[in-house]
């Protein structure tokens, strides 16, 4: 995967591109499987960037209280 250098903005743009491509109705079944996999990875990446686990939040709170 090329996700190493990807940032959030690029990820969300790519997601919207994939959505638009799907909407255009020109996507083949072969391509669909590939795009779907990519989209799943991008969504996971974006969600991870936006949300944190409880554990992480507790750690951050501890750090600021010190």
């Amino acid at each position: 995967m090329k996700k190493k250098t990807l940032n959030y903005e690029e990820a969300i743009q790519r997601l919207e591109q994939i959505t638009a491509d799907m909407e255009s109705g020109k996507m083949s079944i072969d391509e669909l499987a590939e795009r779907l996999k990519e989209a799943q990875n991008l969504i996971a990446f974006c969600k991870e960037k936006l949300t944190a686990t409880d554990e992480e939040i507790q750690q951050m709170l501890k750090a600021v209280e010190k």
């Binding site: 969300i12 919207e16 799907m22 079944i29 936006l50 949300t51 600021v64």
Partner: protein
């Protein structure tokens, strides 16, 4: 030469002259160059008037707000202007001129018009904003595009942490579990060093600006504010030109500082800033979830369409195949009928031809046999005519010597034994 008088007498004279010749009160507009609250509760100030260039003083006078008056005026002033009475402010005050034999000339403040100070502060802010506009940088920060995800936040705030701690707490305890990375860049948020201190913090952020999505400038609640500390040209210019969007929450309700004007997003309080960030991120998360839903729905739609298409193809193929088979069978049958017809025809013709040939052959054979028979008859008749027995019957005889027929008498010499054949029997003779 008049009689010398004492200092007290002279000062009394001045006092009486002033008292009798001056009005009881005047509204004075001046700038405060000093302001301090004494331990006895009185508030001592110094009024100055600068020359037009602002480089030198034209006039100076001491002033005082007596404790009882100060307790009435100060809270009202602060409420209106968001400022405490302090050096640097332009004020409009109702003063009575007092001259005391011991303490000298003092302007005693009886009333103060906060609106004048407010107006002056507004004028100063306008001047700064005008200058920024002329330099074309006023809206630079506002025009930055807010990134879609805004959760790496450089915070400029006071290091005495209550405000910052509350801010962190509020962000991290959001109900959507949104992630925020925060780092404090401590600065002094009150007093004369605000400008220098915030400029330094901005510089520190700038040196690592790739790590941050936005800068938040907040000041803990409850600080009795000297908002004009934030109204400086250098600070405003630095914020306007900062490459990251700046969000302010400097904790005031009435008026906007220059900083609020140039900031990308200006909010009233740190709490409001946190709420804004949470809302922004929640929207970003919703966008991702929406994308997810759309992609799922679209995938299903595409699959369903393709399946439908396939079914249709299948139906078309089945129908087409049946049709083709039917057509094929029909053509086959037609051909088979034609073939059959043609074969029968051909057979009949062959048969006719064969029987014709047979007849001809038969004819030819019969003719030939008859001819041969005839020929044979003739031959037989001829043979009959040639038969020696018949000739012998007629009286002729046949002579042989040693089995050989004798046709010439010279062939014989005396003594030869000959046999003569007659019609009936043989005669053996010897030649003489």
């Amino acid at each position: 030469m008049t009689q010398p008088i004492t200092l007290y007498e002279l000062n009394s004279l001045v006092r009486n002259t002033l008292d009798s010749s001056l009005d009881e009160t005047y509204w004075l507009q001046a700038e405060l160059s000093e302001a301090r609250l004494a331990s006895n509760g009185h508030f001592y100030v110094e009024f100055v008037q600068k020359n037009k260039q602002g480089t030198g003083l034209l006039a100076r006078a001491k002033g005082a707000i007596w404790s009882s008056t100060y307790q009435l005026l100060a809270p009202a002033f602060e409420r209106t202007t968001g400022q405490s009475l302090r050096a640097g402010l332009a004020v409009s005050v109702m003063v009575s001129v007092s001259f005391h034999e011991l303490y000298g000339y003092t302007l005693v403040v009886n009333d103060i018009d906060p609106d004048y100070t407010l107006g002056d502060m507004a004028r100063r802010r306008r001047e700064i904003l005008l200058r920024l506009e002329e330099e074309g940088i006023l809206n630079d920060n506002k025009e930055l595009i807010m990134p879609p995800s805004l959760n790496r936040i450089a915070v400029i705030s006071s290091a005495t942490a209550a405000g910052f701690g509350d801010f962190c707490h509020q962000l991290w305890h959001n109900e959507h579990h949104l992630r925020f990375h925060l780092k404090l860049f401590p600065a002094i948020m009150q007093g004369a060093r605000v400008e220098e201190s915030i400029l330094q913090a901005l510089e520190n952020i700038l040196s690592e600006n790739k790590l941050w999505d936005a800068v938040v400038i907040i000041r803990g609640g409850g600080a009795t504010s000297d908002l004009s500390d934030f109204d400086t040209y250098l600070l405003a210019a630095a914020c306007a030109q900062f490459p990251l969007p700046i969000l302010t929450g400097i904790g005031h309700e009435r008026d906007e500082t220059v900083l609020d004007h140039v900031a990308h997003t200006s909010l009233k309080t740190p709490t409001a800033v946190a709420a804004f960030l949470i809302a922004h991120q929640h929207q970003a998360l919703n966008q991702v979830l929406l994308c997810q839903q759309q992609i799922t729905a679209l995938t299903q739609h595409i699959l369903a369409t393709q399946q439908e298409h396939m079914e249709q193809l299948k139906r078309s193929i089945t129908f087409g195949a049946a049709q083709t088979i039917r057509e094929g069978a029909f053509i086959l049958q037609q051909n088979s009928l034609r073939l059959q017809g043609a074969s029968l025809d051909r057979c009949r013709k062959e048969q006719q031809r064969q029987s014709l040939i047979q007849i001809k052959l038969h004819q030819a054979l019969s003719n030939r046999i008859a001819a041969e028979k005839n020929k044979l008859q003739m031959l037989s008749l001829r043979c009959e005519a040639m038969n020696p027995e018949r000739i012998l019957q007629q009286g002729y005889s046949l002579t042989r010597i040693n089995g050989r027929i004798v046709k010439n008498a010279h062939e014989l010499k005396p003594g030869d034994e000959i046999i003569t054949q007659l019609a009936e029997g043989q005669v053996h003779s010897v030649v003489k």
